[in-house]
């Protein structure tokens, strides 16, 4: 059951691709028919920037069943460089790096497994930004 659901969302989960309303600019992570903010029906596909800053974070201690074996894990609210605010798990952070305002970048990671026989779902998480040489 979950295979097609994951497949439908793969552009956003793998590449942070979504749809921006042509009229008001609201971002939608899955292809909408109507803009949730202004009601417009025109969108353009956009790939969100992969870097941004951490606005706030928390640690999940008692997780939902799909994430039971992953707890504790970090969840953050990130403002991407184009101003889009999105939620995501945080990964690869040391205690020292974990600060509100920290620069982050999206990386592809394993999110969860659908039991013993289902698929393994991948998607973006945020890690501290690694400065690449120019």
């Amino acid at each position: 059951m979950r295979v097609s659901r994951h497949w439908r969302n793969k552009l956003f989960r793998y590449r942070l691709v979504g749809w921006r309303c042509v009229s008001c600019g609201a971002f939608h992570y899955s292809k909408p028919l109507v803009c949730k903010r202004c009601g417009s029906r025109e969108f353009r596909e956009v790939e969100l920037p992969k870097t941004g800053k951490l606005l706030a974070y928390t640690m999940v201690k008692i997780a939902p069943k799909d994430f039971k074996d992953k707890a504790p894990y970090l969840v953050g609210l990130v403002e991407l460089d184009d101003g889009t605010k999105i939620l995501g798990q945080l990964t690869d952070f040391t205690k020292e790096e974990l600060k509100e305002g920290a620069r982050v970048e999206a990386v592809l990671r394993k999110i969860r497994e659908d039991g013993e026989n289902g698929i393994i779902e991948y998607g973006f998480k945020f890690r501290p930004e690694i400065h690449h040489p120019p």
Binding site: N9, K36, A63, P64, K65, F67, L77, L87, R112, G123
Partner: protein, 383 residues
Amino acid sequence: MGKVYVAGVGLTKIGEHWDKGLEQLMVEAALKALDDSGLSRVNSIYVGNMAGEFLQEQAHLGAIIAEDLGMVGTPAYRVEAANASGAAAIHAGALEIASGRADAVLVIGGEKLSDGLIEEVSSALLMGERQEYEGFMGADFYSINALLYKLYMRRYEVKDDLIAVFPMLSHKHAKGVAHAQYPFEVSLEKILSSPYISEPLRRFEVSGVGDGAAAIVLIGEELKSKIKTPKTELYISSATDFMTPFEREDPLRFQSLGVAVNKVLDEAKVDRGDVDLIEVHDATSIMAAISLESSGFAEPGESGRLAMRGEFDLGGRLPYNTFGGLKARGNPFGATGVYQVAELHLQLTGRAGKNQVDSPRVGMAQSLGGVGATAIVTLLKAV
């Protein structure tokens, strides 16, 4: 639109009812409410329940409850709006009375969370968010609340004690309440030294896992003059907001709640200052603070200070969660909205026992689905 009255209420004690099923709890509450009203038949039944399809793998609760009540033949539906399912069922029932289609409606809210493991209860709660977004991130209900908590402390430059004061208050009011899950006081120190469930949100700042059912009987004008039982007049309004708080204009404001509160005050022709007591949806401490501020009962960032000053005590300016709220009376998801309204009814009919507020005329109950994506506000007036 015809007037709607509450004519009877029934509550079960919230707790871990290992020996009773969801259906049994609902029937128990329903029979108490019917007995309280003096009625034995109704035109329709509305059942509020959030997680039965997941935790009990049971849909079709309307017909099941009608059968278990010996009322086969009576129309009966389940209504769902996440944590506000109970209030949504009241809304549906009230509309049928107001339309004139029914003169007596039974509304039952029930939830049995102890049938699930703790991670299943977390998953059930997460179903009130978007599975394709928060669900995929593992960003559970409490983590969203924790992020709001941090933004709140930063914006208003307050410490956690001004937020953790709300669970303390709920526990204070639950003390000795027969139907409460946690009928005892908990000090602010104890709350602030409990472990994090999702930092900065602590274990004692969130409602627990419990089973329970509550029921109310709604009647219209025609029956009102015929039955002698104490009655209150009911008004109810609802609104929605963006699912994710971080997509709202202001994540620290439940706009749905503000809108629903204004609508219900308008319909009931009541001023905010006339509200004598309030039931707030304190699924978490931070939701209590944001709720009071979003609905105009406290200035933004000020609710904690008002609580510290005693304004929300039983004898204060606006008594709050007079039987313990979600935190201490308990929060069996789909039942909670019905508990709130039943408790207001007890207050306004002078049957609140040692928790009785001094001769109240108007009470308000706020029920939220998710983190405020649904808000349903009920106002009761003494008759």
